[in-house]
Symmetry: C2
Subunit: 370 residues, 2 copies
């Protein structure tokens, strides 16, 4: 028994939630948080797809469900349906049986095991190639392919002088309202014959944030390569979480495989995407009416749940200090955090921030923002 702690050297870190912590500690009744990870309703609650509630109840009531461990790679019907949703049923990679999924703990889990695999098996000889930090999964994720809300996070490989495409598709359908259109970039790469990874998440699109349903899609040269890659991913998963949780994946699989439920879900997605576009329109219009300096067309030129506002870090700091509005220093916000209750206040505050701070004009082009 030691008299002193063995962990005297472990520092306190507040890196994880500092923005949310600062918001929660702010006593102002006006405070607004613009970095929600979930899609918020008008009432500031997390959006849940109505089809989800009904399906979850049905599954929970099933007396034959035995709650046995899933296989290490997860619920096979789920990975199949999820992979086909992203790539399309007619995808050559699907037909040729060289695309497959690994059911993961959310999109983060998919990024993590994909990154660990690449670190180990893709040009491991160069230390510079260690682009994924094991603790944070940061990567140099530019250029982002934004048009289709299907983010291409390239893994640069300095020795081979070529890129390995690692996509992130966190909310397929919530950019354009159309599932196929939102997956265009990913499908284009598959059609060009690339081998690639894609981290897929269902949290936002089903409003099932707390069940952590993700999928790592692997597209390989052929089925034999796919089998080898998946065997190594399986080994990784055994040491990470052993097997994923099942209920969320069962809900999603039920919806994806039932035409009636699938249609209802697609309708919900379209409505949510339209709501997001409308918020973008309204914010732009408010800023125009207020005569806010700069151009704000990028608010509607972009799509999806998150938007770069083009605000400078000094303006972000102004918003936090003087207006109790919390957003990332990059100026990125969750569009769903803006609703009819806070829209006027947010627009007015952005106007004040831009008008009162020194800085170049707003309305950066997309390329500049990246």
């Amino acid at each position: 028994m030691a008299a002193l702690s063995l962990f005297l050297d472990v520092p306190l870190t507040r890196e994880v939630n500092w923005l949310l912590d600062a918001y929660q500690e702010d006593p102002s009744p006006d405070k607004v948080y613009l970095d929600h990870r979930d899609c918020q309703t008008e009432m500031g609650k997390a959006w849940v797809c109505p089809t989800v509630r009904q399906t979850l109840l049905q599954i929970a009531s099933d007396p034959t469900l035995d709650h046995e461990y899933l296989p290490v790679l997860g619920f096979p019907e789920f990975t199949r349906a999820a992979t086909e949703l992203a790539l399309g049923r007619e995808s050559r990679a699907v037909i040729e049986n060289r695309a497959g999924g690994v059911h993961t703990v959310g999109g983060t889990g998919a990024v993590r095991i994909g990154a660990e695999f690449l670190r180990h098996w893709y040009n491991t000889s160069s230390p510079k190639q260690r682009l994924f930090s094991s603790s944070c999964c940061h990567w140099p994720c530019l250029p982002r392919w934004t048009e289709s809300h299907c983010v291409l996070c390239s893994l640069l490989c300095p020795q081979r002088k070529r890129l390995f495409p690692f996509f992130d598709i966190p909310a397929q359908g919530l950019a354009s309202g159309d599932l196929d259109r939102d997956a265009w970039a990913l499908r284009h790469f598959v059609a060009q014959g690339f081998e690639l990874f894609c981290a897929q998440s269902f949290s936002k699109t089903f409003g099932l944030y707390d069940e952590r349903v993700g999928n790592l899609i692997v597209v390989a040269r052929d089925n034999e390569t796919l089998v080898r890659i998946r065997s190594q991913l399986q080994k990784q998963v055994m040491g990470m979480w052993a097997t994923p949780a099942s209920l969320g994946a069962r809900v999603i699989t039920t919806v994806l495989n039932n035409p009636a439920l699938l249609n209802k879900w697609k309708q919900s997605l379209r409505m949510l995407a339209e709501k997001i576009m409308l918020i973008r329109e309204k914010l732009k219009e408010k800023l125009r009416i207020l005569g806010t300096p700069g151009f704000w067309d990028h608010l509607t030129a972009q799509s999806g749940t998150r938007s770069f506002t083009g605000l400078l870090s000094s303006q972000v700091a102004f918003l936090e200090k003087h207006k109790h509005i919390y957003l990332l220093g990059s100026g990125q916000v969750s569009v769903c955090s803006i609703n009819s209750h806070n829209l006027d206040y947010v627009a007015q505050s952005i106007n004040e921030a831009v008008s009162s701070t020194e800085g170049r004009a707003q309305g950066l082009s997309w390329a500049e923002m990246e």
Copy 2:
């Protein structure tokens, strides 16, 4: 686009499920699998605690449940209740607010983040100290403290010449049938003032295998140290699975915090523990009647869901080759894989294996088996 796969060098690995794969590929109608991870019923199905079904249905029916993301460290009511279940409400560490949990993806997730933390923060200067393999979480886990079914997996620290206690409590209550008795070893270490980690799982004790509910218990010198440690664990979790799934933890929390449900659950646990003890007794008795060479008292001297049989690897190979019975090369079996349908066949086969193979007498002492 490359003509050849980028992953030509990735080997196929069958390390993960080789035993189950071999069993599944065996066409024999007599085949028996003795390495189930779940507790099996007499009918060879996964045992589910009846209280769980009822509580799950109740939670799924709750219209106020918004399915928002849990905090990074998980469902706070769950980690509190789970930590108190293991340490006891009267534990000094609990009262002094220096024990806390991190809600993890099953027991494996708890082991993984605990191991990563220790690798980073506990005597990182020595490469020999890298006892946890990041891909498999193997560790030199001896000596096991078996009496209380609370496994002490010591992390040896060669430089400091002392051990860091890392417990694994995968099925509290299933050894003796008594929750407090099964946690004795852990509580003893806490009472002695040690700082320690404990990976806790609820899969077996609730029969909720597929919801992956685990908890990493941290006992620190004081509250300030606990806060620092948890802040670093939070950072790790962000890069691993971001937040854990919630439904399973909600079910368990509901049961632990409701006296009537808690009593029902304890009763189920006692019944299951008694069933396990009875299987051990019956197997020993069968071997005695058959006149199997060796001593078999260790079958009932041990407790809990898993048992070392004391069989030699040559005898294990005999069982697989000639009797279609599949168990680990160490001779370890899941006692719950044995039921009234296969007991006679398993006992008879063990008798044949021991009688027909060369090897020293069975009935190793516990120390020898370790």
